[in-house]
């Protein structure tokens, strides 16, 4: 069985084709990079609409199949930016209706976890999912993914990007901050905000920018920013690990590429005797393959999304999605 997945929740329009053995037949992505500032939802949507035909064609070509051989069409139904999601959903509905294929709406966050499990051969990890739009720590338990901790304001990737942008660093912000941080060893205290199991990064951003304005070398600010933010993530991850007694810890999302964060979470996992895995960058960032794979899992367990129920859900929480393909723990 073959599933074609469309991801369009933020600035990437991506199509992935996956078969039921878990082989990724193709993955093609076009990224909208804002010329200045952050992602404007309308501009992202415009980019997606313009790239859709080319990206779809290239994904099919790379997989060496025709659309007729595809059994299921999956798309990101949420969460994400409304206009961007709607563009992908429209493409998916059109394909499903025109070629008479079943349609499956997929939760973006669930998809990140599922593709990670497939690639890292994990069963039920505690997942640290940190990207530009999401920061949460989650694990499947009794029918649903439970959220053990999440950001109360901005996402971790958003913190790094916003800081980089206002500090005049090149896009993407995360790698730029990481490069500079490697040049410093001087830690300056920044607000460390853990509320129970939840995180808050906005005060950290304000304070880091203030240090910069005061003339503190940018390397030291980047170093301190990373150390503080990542220590917060690690603390919550560690508590969730102790709480769930999970024997697997997975790191995914765009920020997963950060080596310092990998190193720190690896130490957390080691201390609790859990196997640690980082999802490969291609599949840790937003991608159509994860949507295709999760759509396939859902379809095989009987889920379909009729067109009338296929409206996008920009605020669809991971803990509200029924997961029929996972056995109750």
């Amino acid at each position: 069985m073959i599933c074609l997945g469309i991801e369009s929740s933020a600035n990437d329009f991506s199509v992935g084709i996956v078969d039921s053995n878990g082989h990724v037949l193709s993955l093609v992505t076009s990224s909208y990079i804002p010329p200045k500032g952050g992602i404007h939802p309308r501009e992202a949507a415009r980019h997606h609409a313009q790239s859709a035909p080319t990206i779809l064609r290239r994904a099919l070509e790379e997989a060496s199949i025709s659309i007729k051989e595809v059994d299921v069409i999956a798309f990101t139904q949420g969460p994400g930016l409304g206009p961007a999601l709607r563009t992908g959903a429209t493409v998916a509905r059109t394909l499903a209706a025109y070629f008479n294929k079943p349609l499956v709406g997929v939760n973006h966050c669930v998809a990140h976890v599922e593709i990670g499990c497939l690639l890292l051969n994990m069963k039920n990890p505690l997942t640290v999912y940190v990207s530009g739009g999401n920061s949460l720590i989650t694990r499947f338990e009794e029918g649903f993914f439970r959220v053990y901790g999440e950001t109360l304001d901005i996402a971790l990737g958003n913190l790094l990007d916003s800081f980089a942008q206002r500090a005049g660093l090149p896009f993407p912000g995360g790698p730029a901050v990481e490069r500079l941080a490697k040049r410093s060893q001087r830690y300056i205290e920044l607000p460390y905000t853990v509320k129970g199991m939840d995180l808050s990064f906005s005060g950290l951003l304000t304070h880091a920018l203030r240090l910069l304005k005061q003339g503190v070398p940018i390397e030291d600010v980047c170093y301190s920013l990373q150390e503080t933010a990542f220590a917060m993530v690690c603390e919550v991850a560690e508590r969730a690990l102790a709480h769930t007694r999970s024997d697997e810890l997975m790191l995914t999302g765009g920020v997963a590429a950060n080596q310092r964060l990998q190193e720190m979470l690896a130490a957390v996992a080691k201390e609790h005797g859990a196997r640690f895995g980082v999802v490969d960058r291609r599949f840790a960032v937003d991608n159509g393959a994860m949507i295709a794979w999760t759509g396939l899992l859902a379809y095989q367990s009987g889920a379909v999304t009729p067109i009338r129920d296929s409206l996008v859900k920009p605020r669809w929480r991971i803990d509200q999605v029924p997961i029929p393909w996972r056995k109750h723990a």
């Binding site: 959220v147 996402a155 509320k195 199991m197 102790a242 605020r315």
Partner: protein
């Protein structure tokens, strides 16, 4: 700390049992150094939380909140030696029986703290001991003085979330019991104000479904 025996390993601290600490049966709570954290930050966090915890464990007693008695504080080693409280974690107790009465007690304790301008900061069923039909509160490492409804709301929301993640089968009964206990101490008006804030914070949260907004 001779004859100390490790009895629990939390994410943040190790708990040792000391059978005879100058005649007391005591536990030592040692906030351990985290290898993944930069040393400066590690030292700041451990010392700060030890200090806060010792301060609030002592302070809240005068408001009628049962806590283990602090016997000794060693900031340098991020260690608090306190009275050993006989009993089981409220979490374990509730997993055995969804005891509404115990949760109602906890609700009253939370309200007692709040009416004295203190928030616990990590109100979960893992941070209370069920001892002789009484709930004893501990783990004040994230506690702080607070006056805004926002702070109280976050405290209640944290508890709500912990119920949802561990005791989800009996969430409705248990959360109602908590509110009952809270209201008994804080009164109807104050409780409603806090609950309104809780739903406001929830709505503010990321990706809350439209039905709740």
């Amino acid at each position: 700390m001779e004859k100390a025996r490790l009895i629990a390993r939390g994410a943040e601290a190790h708990i040792y049992l000391i059978e005879d600490w100058h005649g007391f049966r005591a536990v030592a709570k040692v906030r351990v150094s985290k290898p993944y954290r930069v040393r400066e930050l590690d030292t700041i966090i451990r010392a700060r939380r030890t200090k806060l915890e010792a301060y609030f464990l002592y302070k809240v007693k005068r408001y009628g909140v049962p806590t283990p008695t602090v016997l000794h504080v060693d900031l340098h080693n991020a260690t608090i030696i306190m009275e050993y409280v006989e009993g089981i974690l409220l979490r374990e107790h509730l997993l055995r029986t969804p005891d509404e009465d115990a949760v109602e007690q906890l609700g009253s304790l939370a309200a007692l703290l709040h009416t004295h301008s203190i928030v616990h900061g990590d109100l979960t069923t893992s941070n209370a001991i069920f001892s002789d039909e009484q709930v004893v509160l501990f783990d004040f490492g994230l506690a702080k003085s607070a006056v805004t409804v926002e702070d109280f709301g976050v405290d209640v929301l944290l508890f709500k979330r912990s119920l949802l993640s561990v005791h989800f089968k009996y969430f409705n009964e248990l959360f109602e019991a908590f509110i009952r206990g809270y209201q008994r101490v804080a009164g109807k008006n104050r409780t409603n104000t806090v609950l309104k804030k809780v739903s406001e914070i929830e709505r503010r949260g990321r990706y809350v479904s439209r039905e709740l907004r």
